[in-house]
Symmetry: C2
Subunit: 909 residues, 2 copies
């Protein structure tokens, strides 16, 4: 309920007035008035001191473009009426030579679009009114300086002239006068500059600079509208997915001047500290200055409060000290604005001769840390609810709080850029092999730099502080594993030409050698030279508080994908409620296991495979006991052997020779077997449950290891273990039937041998379109589903995540993809299959447990999707567990809001 400023009875209201303690619009009218106009109206209606003005609506803008760049017939009349209201409120006349009203003209779209169009200030000045301004201000220099600024701005923004020509004129003038700074010019100097400027406009355009304020005004209005279609604006809109149909509003506002002497000032303020979130007024101001002076950085602004000044050790007085009365008023207004908007505000203000004017307010941008603190504080203060606090923090931003980050003030010398594959920053010496990483990493920090990584590199990756690859996308092996380990990682830095043999890499014409120190920023995808200052993460009380609130709200459980005891412990510390994915083959890469695994692969028949499997069994069992113990009764989903067997063999002749020598295996046989097993498309090859069906003895060993481990844990008197045995790459119910039979047979046998009953379940990883389609049939033998959306995205789109780097950027640039579908789930395609699979699965087996264990499990947008499908849990890498907890809470709140909205609309019907 804002107080109406004007009453206009035309059919369409194109103009909304504000100021003088009243407004036609309000903050809720952003679509019609744009963000700036709506907030100016809101502040006016609140009775705050806003220079009066009016907003021409976005609808007028749309009319303008729909009708061949012409204005609505009644716009002129409405603008006149609104202008007359402004004249009345400020007691000046637009174009009045003795008592001139000056205005600013600014664009203002629904969404902030920085740089779309420059502001025009001081509009209304001409050769007559400049004299009136001089008299009113008692400052002739000020008046002509204002006039020349206006001519320059208007000529550039409205008339389309290059601003360089005006700067040249001014520079020439200064040369002639022998001065270097603007302040050295007097009133007459500026007057002369004005004359030169006008002559220049006449020369360039063949027409004089417009002297009629009405013509100036309509010129500026048209220019604001036109700017909506300029290249910069179109590019920005495409980039941010802003519809052209939104249009822009135009704000016309009476000018106030912060540069009218020592009782005038201008400044910006945040109601709380936007870096730390601290609840103290934060900002800076300049006496006798205009807004652009604050930005230009010629003079150093002063802090607002005395406390801030003292902390900074400044001597120049703060606003609190320099103009205590105005400061008192400002402080009161600012508090009121925050309470009114119920959020931290970013405010612009001007003081003209001791009088405060509010020019803008909007929600303030803030760091992740500040967002967290402000949300928790405001909820504690009672300003917002806990639910609102949960919604105020961007889950993805938590990543910044969980990893070290590069000091924002540090200088960065970029060596190469790639994808921001795993957040955080790390510094260390370059190593080019996993072995070197293991060896050197034990002594000092290293960064592992590889063409790409493979499962054999895991120990080296673990030993390194960070990982860089020249190839691979956001879900390449390096990226997935690094995120899982919480290691910083930059992937696909294609500029790097790596010569591991020579122990060097080249990029941008420079050579970096093994042992050189580099820093990587995994949050930005940058590889940087040398060692750079870091900020360590601190998981404050606020973090735990907000997480607790989130946990109370969310419906989705959050689990982690984890194989190592370290991962599992990290996951528990971050609040994981179980493991959603143990990739059981990761343990095969340990040195002592790998030899047995290779022996198994080289065997000619089942009997030959069984012997090495016997040796692997106790090792796998030991691993599984540890995971089940750490998870202390929470469910643990064991996915049986998934990758094709050739991943476990050495490939090049040199690697083969090394392995043969180390293990005593036959080199020729190794090489032949590797060649035999080579696949054209390993992603679509002999892997997953296809291995278990071809070589049942492998899965028998794994099932035995899981159930034996569970028996051991159960016998130890700890919380009852809850193993979930998951079969992967299932496409048909027939596969699941075979695998269910195998699993139950072995489990029964082990339980009877041990005399222990284990509450295990058997399920399917749904990661093929065929499986989603056949989910109803598969659910007859699968007790749970886990949607493997990494592979499901690969197969649904027919895109290999390892190879997608070559065209993904083009696809995002050309608008084919809004986001990388491996990062955020493609709801219409991949998501449709998840939904179908969930529906068909639950139809066949009511209430069956459903989860997701792809990388999407840690992506907020994807988690919202999972909530909408009604999954039971998401599982993600340990370091994303807090993100998932918060995103799950937001998704639950979103779902509740949608439900109550729906209930409301039903009641209305």
């Amino acid at each position: 309920m804002t107080k109406a400023a004007t009453t206009i009875s035309t059919r369409t209201r194109w103009v909304y007035a504000f100021g003088g303690g009243a407004a036609d619009g309000g903050a809720h009218m952003k679509e019609l008035l744009g963000g700036k106009g709506a907030n100016l109206a809101e502040m006016s209606a609140l009775g705050l001191p806003v220079p009066p003005g009016f907003t021409i609506t976005t609808e007028a803008c749309n009319h303008y473009f729909d009708k061949g760049r012409t204005h609505p017939g009644d716009l002129a009349e409405q603008v006149s009426a609104a202008l007359a209201r402004v004249e009345a409120l400020v007691g000046k006349g637009f174009g009045d030579a003795a008592n001139p009203l000056l205005v600013s003209v600014r664009s203002g779209a629904r969404a902030s679009m920085p740089g779309m169009m420059d502001t025009v200030l001081n509009l209304g000045l001409n050769d007559q009114t400049v004299e009136g301004l001089a008299r009113l201000a008692g400052d002739r220099r000020f008046a002509f300086d204002s006039y020349r600024r206006f001519i320059q701005m208007y000529s550039n923004v409205v008339l389309g002239l290059d601003h360089h020509m005006f700067e040249e004129i001014l520079d020439d003038k200064k040369d002639v006068l022998g001065v270097t700074i603007d302040t050295a010019l007097g009133a007459d100097d500026w007057r002369a500059v004005v004359a030169d400027y006008k002559a220049e406009v006449l020369r360039e355009l063949g027409e004089p600079f417009p002297q009629d304020p009405q013509a100036q005004l309509w010129g500026a209005i048209g220019a604001v509208f036109d700017s909506w279609m300029n290249d910069r604006a179109q590019f920005y809109r495409r980039l941010h997915d802003i519809p052209e149909a939104w249009g822009t509003a135009v704000n016309v506002q009476s000018m106030v001047f912060g540069n009218m002497g020592e009782t005038s000032a201008t400044g910006v303020a945040f109601t709380r500290n936007p870096s730390t979130g601290e609840n103290r007024l934060y900002g800076e101001f300049l006496i006798n200055a205009q807004g652009e002076d604050v930005v230009a950085g010629i003079r150093t602004p002063q802090p607002l409060t005395r406390a801030a000044r003292e902390e900074m050790g400044e001597t120049a007085p703060s606003m609190e000290e320099a103009m205590p009365e105005v400061y008192g008023q400002f402080s009161e207004v600012v508090g009121r604005l925050e309470r009114h908007y119920r959020d931290m505000q970013d405010i612009e203000f001007t003081v003209e001769r001791g009088r405060l004017y509010m020019l803008q307010t909007r929600g303030g941008k803030r760091t992740a840390k500040a967002a967290l603190k402000i949300a928790v504080d405001m909820a504690t203060e009672g300003l917002i609810t806990r639910d609102e606090a949960i919604l105020r923090v961007d889950p993805a931003s938590l990543d910044q709080l969980l990893h070290p980050t590069i000091d924002p003030n540090a200088e960065r010398e970029i060596i190469a850029t790639g994808l921001p594959a795993s957040p955080g920053a790390a510094t260390g010496k370059i190593v080019f092999t996993a072995e070197a990483a293991e060896r050197e990493g034990a002594l000092e920090p290293v960064i592992l730099v590889r063409e790409e990584t493979s499962p054999e590199d895991i120990r080296g990756m673990d030993a390194a502080r960070g990982v860089v690859t020249a190839r691979g996308g956001m879900t390449s092996h390096a990226a997935v594993v690094a995120r899982g380990m919480g290691r910083a990682c930059v992937c696909g830095a294609a500029e790097l030409v790596i010569d591991a043999k020579a122990g060097e890499m080249r990029a941008r014409g420079r050579v970096w050698r093994e042992g050189d120190v580099i820093t990587i920023d995994g949050s930005l995808g940058e590889v940087l030279a040398g060692s750079i200052a870091m900020i360590e993460p601190e998981l404050s009380g606020d973090f735990r508080l907000l997480m607790g609130w989130a946990d109370a709200v969310r419906r989705l459980k959050v689990r982690a994908n984890a194989e190592t005891p370290l991962d599992a412990r990290t996951a528990r510390q971050f609040g994981a409620e179980g493991i959603g994915l143990v990739r059981t083959e990761h343990m095969f890469f340990d040195e002592d296991r790998l030899a047995a695994v290779r022996e198994m692969i080289l065997a000619d028949d089942e009997a030959g495979r069984r012997a090495p499997l016997e040796r692997i069994l106790p090792m796998q069992r030991g691993d599984f006991v540890e995971l089940l113990n750490i998870m202390d009764g929470y469910p643990v989903t064991f996915r049986l052997l998934d990758p094709p067997l050739h991943e476990f063999l050495p490939h090049t002749e040199a690697e083969v020779a090394a392995v043969a020598q180390a293990t005593g295996l036959d080199a020729a046989k190794l090489l032949r077997r590797a060649a035999e097993l080579r696949e054209t498309n390993p992603m679509l090859g002999h892997r997953g449950c296809r291995l278990g069906i071809s070589y049942p003895e492998i899965y028998e060993m794994q099932v035995r290891a899981i159930i034996e481990a569970a028996c051991e844990v159960a016998a130890s008197g700890k919380a009852a273990p809850a193993p979930e045995i998951m079969h992967t790459l299932v496409a048909k119910a027939e596969e699941m039937n075979i695998l269910r039979g195998l699993t139950d047979r072995v489990a029964k046998q082990v339980m009877s041998e041990r005399g222990v009953t284990i509450n295990y379940t058997v399920g399917a990883m749904i990661e093929l379109p065929r499986a989603a389609l056949a989910a109803g049939e598969i659910a007859k033998s699968a007790e749970f589903f886990s949607f493997g959306t990494n592979d499901l995205t690969q197969t649904t789109f027919g895109i290999s995540r390892d190879d997608s780097g070559r065209f993904l950027n083009t696809y995002i640039d050309k608008g084919v993809f809004e986001k990388d579908p491996f990062v955020s789930i493609d709801a219409e395609g991949v998501g449709a299959l998840v939904r179908l699979g969930a529906e068909r699965g639950r139809a066949a087996r009511p209430g069956m447990k459903l989860g997701i264990c792809g990388e999407h499990g840690g992506d907020p947008a994807s988690i919202a999707f999972c909530e909408s499908v009604g999954l039971d849990y998401v599982s993600c890498s340990a370091y994303r567990v807090p993100i998932a907890r918060l995103a799950a809470a937001q998704a639950a709140l979103g779902a509740r809001a949608a439900a109550s909205q729906a209930a409301l609309s039903v009641r209305k019907d």
Copy 2:
């Protein structure tokens, strides 16, 4: 309406009598009586001379297994009544020592299950009845020979004794007598053998051989039932997907003897020639013999007719000459049977002392050639309708008629076996490289033997008569290309160890060198030693006639996948109605083009790519003009560049060096670029429309070539060309929008340059699950869809066809796949996506043209699926066009039958 033989008023009738000109059952009762029993009943009811007997139903079999291997309480009573009826009809008594009735006991399931259980003949003989038989037959030797045969059979089949022990006894006897053949034994000798046999049974079982005919009968009935569950039967059922619940019937029939002297005989006959289809009685018989003698091959059977005897130059009289009266009767009966069953019959008969008995009739197996001729002849004779004739020929069998085949009488020495990848046979000298194939193939026939083939081998494959690969499945590159070219091909012959460098291959311990002559049988998947006699195909008038009838009936259009003028001409000759898939990149592999293509790939920027594209343009245009001309107004679907660019580059250092030298391209750059472009999963890589979106200039060139070609053809005054431009690997509507824009822009430009309007359309290949899901959106810019079910199968199942060979056989063995899903479409999964895509596409664009261009387009089962989805056309390799035409006709008839069935059931409701 068969005449009832008996009237039994029990609640369940377990026993159905036949013989004596009447029967309780008929041919329509195969489910209850099994195939043999139903046909015996049918012949009896027709009044044909069938030895009387009865059939115990499959329901009795099911009861037997359901109730712990016990018979229904009233079965004994029903068997007694039926046996009494037989006794009355033949005037003998079962177990009557003076006038004994002997019976045969045979199993008979709904489907023929050869070898499931041996027959028991002469049941009812014992130490008393054998004397009666001797007197009745007036032949004591015959009686005891019959008795010893019975003991041997019964002991083996019912009592489970090894038949070797009986053979040993007989051999010992012959040694003692100093004779070598059975006929040398007299009545007393056989009597002694009988005694020894009985003694052996007693020794083995501890019980005497059963003398009570009733005990013999029930023993045999139980044995027949038990045989339903033996290993052989279970294996056969699993193999042929026969449900266990079908059960088997038991046929008990009075014995007749073809071995009662010179007026007795036994024989088999086909009502038409099963090899050629010729409408003449065909078969053979033996005087004074039992059925097993015909099979055993000790005596040479004689032809049935005089004409056949004379043709064969035989002197022994035919049945027509030896027993003219019986022959006359037989000839009449046989004609009646064919007319009655309206199909060629396979008949068994016996003549006992001048009296004809019919023992079995069933539809006769026949060669593809005979099936064709018989179907066409019968339709021409008016015996069946043309629709029925269409349904009588297995479309897949036409393959035999279109390719040379190995003479079935020739000896085969198998070198190695693989997959029957492309039908037909070919003989030639071994070559191990595509270059050698080109060079040598021009001079004499060669067979190209490779580890696997790649697009670079195409010219070599074309120059060879046949292709053998050691790796790859039914849809590997070699298989697909060979089928397209009509070349015989054996794929995945894993036994072959090929050493191309050494110019030799090894298999089964032998070495074959370049230049050695081999023969391949692509229909069976065999590689054979030396040159083998062939039968050339002959496309007779019958073939054209049947194809014409099929064309009149089918709704689906049939197109071919073709790139070369030769393929296109072959396709037209086989009746293709257009080209459904021109893989435009196939032309890139021609030597003169490849250089330009490689130069384009090596270029650093768009400008660098445009120059070689300019050189490729006229060549592509020329190709397209030729295809459009050959297709003479029929539609031609041009699929733009699909494979990843690395397929066009040499890979090994040696290849690179050769290319660099030949073309002047920079070797280092070639190698580097090949490495850069290398993909982990090329199937899911930077290919298809992803290339067109990354490098629009390539697609622009191709669209230009197509439209310029169409303009040329249109200007030449020939039939208006109908080019369809197809974009491949589309996943999202956004891609199609971009590509549609590109296509229309270039097309418009070309048409305006040339002043010609071309009626082109732009469509999408739907080959990704994502595309099927988004079909509604994609259809907004796609004017047609072609379902690429090869890739759709790969992505839906997550199975690479190049790598599937390793587990496909295991999957088929274990029942996961019924058929290779790359051969026959997976209706529930891949098919569901095709159906979804078709429905969503047509919902968005009513009546849009839909086709299929995967390998499935030539598979009859998949064609029936396409009919059910309502596609407009199928497209397959040229040599499969006739198969597709016939299969499409059958599918249309099937759909009509289903529709009228549905209409009937609606009327009934």
